[in-house]
């Protein structure tokens, strides 16, 4: 048996910002729920945790980050801080997606959430977890996951959908492969479709629970790396954020003269 590693996990993919320090298999977390304060609070929270446990960055084995989807700015704050800390301490960065981090967190942090708690405490052999985040502009980031033997398994990758497509696709997933499986929906993406939750509930013959207040958390990311062995390792610190929304309609300029060859030709 090797010694249990110590590492740090960071998440700022929503208005919640969280930091988890893993020391000898124990998870210690700090969080802040003030929107637009992530850059201000993240390093102080990290320092507080390190000091409290008498650790330095160089004693860690890696830094885990949620690379999105979620708030573009939040994701970049998180990645930039992870890059600075990791590069400066010679540590690799391990990145996971924030929806998986949310699903994992929901599976371990259900106690204060009665609906979830009653489903999880019945220890179902399989549980369908659909994390969903409000992507604004009337769209939702989501993925589908099965929890089996306490391990998360992706059954669909993170994607971006309109509310109508989201409800249709989730209903299809339940009908096709999980009609008898208890189902939980977590994350504020579910607030966008509150009036359509009954459509989903009718597809599922087992227990269902929804909780929009559970958001991605660094502890979810930290546990995914440990339990599920999720995560992409970057030794050089270069990580591509997972924005999903890449085709944003920024208006391109209209030209009169022909465009130079480096840019695509536009009509006059």
């Amino acid at each position: 048996m090797s010694l249990p590693e110590s590492y740090l996990a960071l998440d700022a993919s929503t208005e919640k910002c969280s930091v988890t320090l893993v020391v000898e298999g124990r998870f210690h977390s700090r969080e802040c729920n003030i929107p637009r304060s992530h850059a201000k609070v993240m390093l102080p929270l990290i320092q507080e945790l390190l000091n409290e446990h008498g650790m330095t960055l160089r004693e860690l084995s890696k830094i885990v980050v949620s690379r999105g989807p979620g708030s573009f700015t939040g994701i970049r704050i998180c990645l930039s801080i992870a890059q600075g800390l990791a590069y400066g301490s010679g540590l690799p960065i391990v990145s996971v997606d924030s929806l998986a981090a949310l699903a994992k967190y929901a599976s371990i942090a259900a106690t204060p959430h009665p609906g979830l708690h009653s489903i999880l405490s019945s220890s179902p052999s399989r549980l369908l977890i659909i994390p969903a985040l409000d992507a604004r502009m009337n769209e939702i980031y989501w993925s589908a996951n099965i929890l089996e033997n306490n391990l998360i398994k992706h059954i669909s990758e993170p994607t971006l959908s309109s509310p109508v497509d989201f409800v249709a696709e989730v209903s299809a997933i339940i009908s096709q492969q999980a009609a008898n499986t208890p189902f939980v929906g977590v994350g504020h993406g579910w607030e966008v479709v509150t009036d359509q939750i009954d459509i989903i509930q009718t597809k599922c013959s087992a227990a269902t629970a929804f909780d929009a207040s559970i958001l991605p958390h660094a502890e979810g990311a930290a546990r995914l790396v440990l339990d599920e062995k999720f995560g992409e390792v970057s030794e050089d610190g270069v990580i591509e954020p997972l924005y999903i929304r890449n085709e944003v309609a920024w208006e391109k300029r209209k030209r009169i003269r022909p465009a130079p060859q480096t840019a695509p030709q536009k009509d006059s």
Partner: protein, 341 residues
């Protein structure tokens, strides 16, 4: 003291290492011009996305190239003014690097960086001097007694001079960034054909206004436009020349006035527009007549760069100023509020 400098306030990712004993050791710049030219201007979200992709590899490059990987004594990063999302990338990486290296860090005012850039050159100006900060975001005349001792003498009430250049260039359908392209076109133009106004020069004071000049340009372009929507090539060049001459004259008149008003003999010009050759030429002529001197940075340090941030940060870190681990970027940040060194 060896300082890593990081600049990400707009559309250039700049990294440099400056040593207080040995001077500038190395610098690299990644410009996003190609990315934004399709849109005719900087798209903030795309700028932020590119910074987060490019910054760390650029830091690695500069640290390796200057043999400074284990030798950095402090980190300086631009913490304002600028695009908030872009600023955040440089500030977060820079502040976190300093925490990991256990060295001090400082957020630098972007315009102080520009203002001090001429001090990176051989034969730097001595304090006190008047500074003309002239870029796409700023047009300011500042009396500078020392680092951090800034008295605002005048500034633009509307568009910055560089912004006016970019907008006039757009009216002539020139590519982004329009300023340098307009200046290039002006070289082919007849500066006497059109007479553009010199805004706010006929009354006292050191403030600027360039929005009227912009409207004047728009009207001139419209008056001479052909079916294509643009005037013929020579007329475009003549308009560019007249526009540039009007902006340059206005800046020169106010600079001369600022020197006379303060009794100072040295002027520094900094910021993107300070690279304009016509401005440099006419300032030199005008200032020679009043026994004054003009100083500026080499071309690559007129526009945004990491070297000026490393240098400005170094001056403040040397006297013990530093930031704590709370990363606080300021999209707006008045220059006069800085503390003295």
């Amino acid at each position: 003291m060896r300082i890593l400098g990081i600049e990400t306030s707009c559309d250039e990712t700049g990294v440099a290492v400056y040593d207080s004993e040995q001077g500038l050791l190395g610098h690299r710049l990644y410009s996003q011009i190609k990315l934004h030219s399709e849109y005719g201007g900087v798209v903030p979200e795309l700028a932020s996305r590119d910074h987060v992709r490019k910054l760390l590899p650029l830091i690695e490059d500069v640290l390796t190239g200057t043999d400074s990987k284990d030798a950095i004594d402090g980190v300086a990063f631009t913490s304002g003014p600028g695009l908030i999302g872009a600023l955040l990338v440089g500030a977060c990486v820079g502040r976190s690097l300093a925490m990991a290296w256990n060295c001090p860090a400082i957020g630098v005012h972007h315009m102080e960086g520009h203002l001090l850039a001429p001090l990176l050159e051989d034969n730097p100006p001595e304090f006190p001097f008047v500074a003309l900060l002239v870029s796409g975001g700023h047009t300011q005349l500042v009396a500078v007694k020392g680092i951090g001792q800034y008295e605002m003498l005048g500034e633009s009430l509307d568009d910055a001079a560089g912004e006016a250049f970019d907008k006039a260039a757009k009216m002539l359908d020139l590519d982004y960034p329009g300023g340098p392209n307009l200046a290039k076109l002006a070289e082919q133009g007849d500066v006497t054909r059109f007479k553009f106004p010199r805004p706010m020069t006929d009354r006292p004071g050191l403030d600027f206004s360039f929005s009227g000049l912009k409207t004047f340009t728009l009207n001139t372009v419209a008056e001479h436009s052909l079916a294509s929507g643009l005037p013929d090539d020579q007329t475009c060049a003549d308009i560019a020349a007249a526009f540039q001459e009007a902006v340059v004259d206005t800046l020169v008149i106010k600079c001369r006035r600022a020197l006379q008003q303060t009794g100072l003999k040295r002027l520094i010009i900094a910021g993107g527009v300070s690279a304009n050759s016509r401005l440099r030429e006419k300032l030199q002529q005008a200032l020679a007549k009043i026994q004054s001197e003009v100083f500026y940075a080499r071309h690559e340090f007129c526009t945004d760069n990491g070297a000026m941030i490393a240098f400005a940060g170094c001056q403040r870190l040397l006297v013990g100023q530093q930031d704590d681990v709370v990363i606080d970027v300021k999209p707006r940040w008045p220059l006069q509020t800085l503390s003295a060194v």
